[in-house]
């Protein structure tokens, strides 16, 4: 058995993993939190993305919106990460061979890379364009990528149950 698969099997068989998986309520509650926190993470970042695309709140500067939104986005991310890890803990062995799960991880990596690139390049000069109704094309590209990638993560996440 490949090492990674073995590791997943060990996690799956662990006491906590098994407890979550076999519990009447634990898995359902953790999964519900994971699904509903999507609104906190993706819902708020979507507002920023739509602003940069010039579709909403054009009268408010980009930096004002990002400063407003980021605490909630990061809180949402923390909740998603913790609940996601717990779900993985319970399902690790099954997730290993699940194509939807693998796609989701790849998309998550990309959705993390996108803002990294964004913040180290075009966003460095945000004060030059923060009040513009439509942000520069590089910012709009990052915003569109963000919306598409997050949608992909959600679709892939839902698809996990079908494989």
């Amino acid at each position: 058995m490949p090492t990674l698969q073995h590791v997943c099997q060990v996690i799956y068989d662990s006491h906590i993993g098994t407890a979550i998986r076999e519990s009447d309520y634990a898995f359902s509650i953790i999964e519900s939190v994971h699904v509903l926190a999507i609104t906190l993470l993706v819902g708020t970042i979507a507002v920023l993305d739509l602003r940069m695309l010039g579709l909403i709140l054009r009268g408010i500067s980009v930096t004002r919106i990002s400063k407003t939104v980021f605490p909630f986005t990061w809180t949402g991310f923390a909740i998603m990460f913790v609940s996601g890890c717990l779900l993985f803990w319970a399902e690790a062995a099954k997730n290993y061979s699940n194509p939807a799960f693998r796609v989701k991880l790849v998309l998550l990596a990309l959705v993390g890379l996108n803002p990294l690139i964004f913040h180290t390049t075009i966003y460095r000069r945000v004060h030059e364009w923060e009040v513009l109704q439509y942000s520069p094309w590089r910012a709009r590209a990052a915003a569109l990528a963000s919306l598409l990638l997050w949608s992909g993560v959600i679709v892939a996440g839902r698809a996990i149950a079908y494989f």
């Binding site: 519900s32 509903l36 819902g43 507002v47 004002r64």
Partner: protein, 156 residues
């Protein structure tokens, strides 16, 4: 009387399609989920502003003008996808306590949105009141309730 509507829905073209399609339900449910993300974001920003927690210097009306469009647009998508999902298992939904709770909360949330919430939002620019925080809290709670009840449908 209400039960007849659910039976009709199950027998409708939409119902027949959803019941026989292999991917129909999965696709519709995914659309429902994507719209949920947008709806949640819009509700959160508007109500946090109404509470006076965020964007305090910005006009409530300006924020609401754009975000209410987002909210209603995503809500329409959620209702359409919701109807499609119900048509796949109409009577099961009809008899499900979680589904009934969800519909009751949804009706309340929408009603509240177009009455007390709307009044508070439109009045905010001239006249901020203590009750605005309460209105915002009720709004968030109702929408959250719809979401939780929705999750419960699949689990109970």
């Amino acid at each position: 009387m209400l039960r007849v509507w659910f039976v009709s829905l199950a027998h409708s073209h939409l119902g027949q399609y959803m019941q026989t399609s292999k991917w129909g339900f999965a696709i519709v449910e995914t659309v429902h989920l994507l719209a949920l993300a947008i709806l949640g974001g819009a509700v959160l920003i508007v109500d946090l502003r109404l509470m006076g927690v965020i964007l305090k210097k910005e006009s409530m009306r300006q924020i609401n003008r754009d975000l209410s469009r987002l909210l209603l647009g995503s809500l329409i998508v959620m209702i359409a996808s919701g109807v499609a999902m119900v048509s796949e298992e109409a009577l099961k939904c009809y008899y499900s306590p979680a589904f009934r709770w969800k519909m009751a909360l949804l009706a309340t949330a929408v009603l509240f949105y177009f009455t007390f919430h709307r009044r508070a939002v439109l009045r905010q620019s001239e006249d901020r009141r203590f009750t605005d925080g309460i209105v915002a809290t009720i709004s968030i709670s109702l929408w959250l309730g719809v979401g939780i009840a929705g999750r419960a449908i699949g689990l109970l």
